[in-house]
Amino acid sequence: MGIKRLKMPEYSFGDKVKWHAAAVGTAFKEAFFPHTVTVHYPKERRKFPDNFRGYILFDIEKCINCWQCAFVCPANAIRMKEAPNKKYYPTIDYAKCIFCHFCVDSCVGGALRTTKIHDVAYADVNEMLAETEQLMEPPEIVREDRRYVEYVIEEDDVRLRRVKGQDYLLVEPPPRKEYSMVCVCDDPESCTGCGTCADVCEHYAISISIEGEYKVIRIDTARCTGCGLCVKECPLRVLRLVRREGEQ
């Protein structure tokens, strides 16, 4: 690391003529052999990589109703909707979504995944709310593209590789490691037995029963998905999430 002092150029008359000629020459050259890099959207489409952050698809099978997508959304675009089965699933308001995909990265079960859809125009702002049921199937968009274009950056310049046919906009999510968690109580003596944990659990994994003089709280580890809502909601924070045994 050092300091490099720059000298500002001084143009003599000769330089001026030279640089005028260079500018005109460049323009002349480009007029005949241009380095055009234009993508003719909508006739053709730029091919984006598989990790492109576009519209989000939702797989209800994998959702563990942990609300983390809603909690992490910086724009509050994700709100949870109560389904007929009384569980909460995400909805995305694309009028707020900033496509940061923090939700996708937060999704514990891998229920949210990306697509390469991003070029959409809505006629009404109220249509922009995509509810859970709309997120589950890939949507159809108006497409006029007949081919797709790939930017190929080579050592000396960029080249547009044009391929006939439509680019497939749905991508397989990259394989990811699953971390199975389970909820435990590590301070039973502080438990008030209020049952908030049981009330908030969308998988009915926590049960409370009265047995004689005691209230018995049981966590059904088989049903527990490790969503962590009970841990979060416990007023005295007696619960904790741990990795499932045999995982670590």
Binding site: V24, P34, H35, T36
Partner: protein, 360 residues
């Protein structure tokens, strides 16, 4: 009836010779053929077809497109295209002008209403009148010894209307643009006139047809005058690097800022009209007018064709400037106009004088 006969006679006596369509005219019975040939009456033909109205109209529709396409090409992009994709969007300007035509015309509350609306129409007088004095080869509407001078005089009227438009807009930016226009006017007008004088000295006449027929290329005879004329034209038509009065990033099109709809459409073509006139003048004075290999079937049209082609080339060169240069500052342009360019134009006159003396 008699008058019509006289007119027809007059028309047929001074007709544009186009061997290609002679047989076609010959096929028609006499009065009809005479009538059909009426547009071929030279002054009428010159005013309406070439170099006049039709050519101008066509160029006005084409040239902005050419300019946009060419700049786009230099700028690594495509330019207007999707409108008729296989022709590269050639009718883009048609769409633009239709849009302008059908758009609401707003006359701002702050503007000076009568002048605001009238100047834009009045400015067509100096824009269209020079058409009568331009010679496309041998086709010319009014042939006089002083054609070039008259054209120049009319062209010099242009800025007055622009000043009027800017002034009547009642807008701060229009005001600044107007003042800039006024300054620029004085800076380029003198060298422009001097360079033309230099050429008139060489040719000894202001008759474009005669100049064209002399067969001498002005640009070879007096390259300095050509240079001055070129630069002065760029200044006069607000081409980059001298696009100072309109400077869209600075003044948002200066004098034209308040114009909308068709009034803007007219104002927009005004600069191109001026460019056309000056390019025609450039072609006449420096590029030998309509001289070029004779294409026999076209007859007199051959010269016109060469002339138009040359004009297009000149205009394209001016158009390309947009892609090459940034904008000068007002004071720099004025300084250049009043010092170096003026000096070169004087030099050009000296060269011409020397040439005239030597040949004499």
């Amino acid at each position: 009836m008699k008058m019509l006969g006289q007119i027809l006679e007059l028309a047929s006596s001074n007709r544009v010779e186009i061997p290609l369509i002679e047989p076609l005219l010959g096929m028609l019975p006499p009065p009809l053929s005479e009538l059909a040939a009426l547009p071929l009456w030279k002054p009428l033909f010159a005013a309406l077809v070439v170099p006049g109205f039709a050519t101008l109209g066509l160029l006005l529709l084409l040239l902005p497109w050419i300019e946009r396409k060419l700049c786009a090409r230099i700028q690594w992009r495509v330019g207007p295209k999707e409108i008729v994709s296989w022709l590269g969007g050639i009718i883009q300007l048609l769409a633009d002008s239709l849009r302008f035509l059908f758009q609401e015309v707003i006359v701002s509350r702050d503007s000076h209403r009568p002048y605001f609306t009238q100047f834009v129409l009045l400015s067509f007088i100096p824009a269209l009148l020079p058409m009568l004095f331009v010679a496309a080869g041998t086709i010319i509407a009014i042939r006089t010894e002083y054609s070039v001078q008259i054209m120049l005089a009319l062209v010099c009227l242009f800025p007055v209307f622009i000043l009027g438009m800017g002034w009547s807009s009642g807008n701060r930016f229009a005001f600044v643009g107007t003042v800039r226009e006024a300054f620029m006017y004085f800076a380029y007008e003198v060298p422009l006139i001097l360079s033309v004088i230099a050429m008139l000295l060489v040719f000894g006449t202001g008759d474009p047809v005669a100049i064209g027929e002399s067969g001498r290329l002005g640009i070879v005879l007096n390259p300095l005058a050509a240079l001055v004329f070129f630069i002065a034209t760029a200044m006069g038509t607000s081409r980059l690097p001298f696009e100072i009065p309109e400077a869209d990033q600075e003044l948002a099109f200066g004098p034209f800022i308040e114009y909308s709809g068709i009034t803007f459409g007219l104002a927009y073509v005004l600069a191109y009209e001026k460019l056309y006139v000056l390019s025609a003048l450039f072609t006449t004075l420096f590029l030998g007018g309509g001289s070029g290999p004779m294409i026999a079937p076209l007859g007199e049209l051959s010269g016109a064709l060469w002339f138009v082609l040359k004009v297009i080339v000149v205009m394209v060169v001016f158009a390309a400037l947009r892609a090459i240069y940034p904008r000068f500052r007002l004071d720099q342009a004025l300084k250049a106009g009043w010092s170096s360019i003026l000096a070169i134009s004087l030099l050009a006159i000296i060269i011409s004088s020397v040439e005239v003396v030597m040949w004499a």
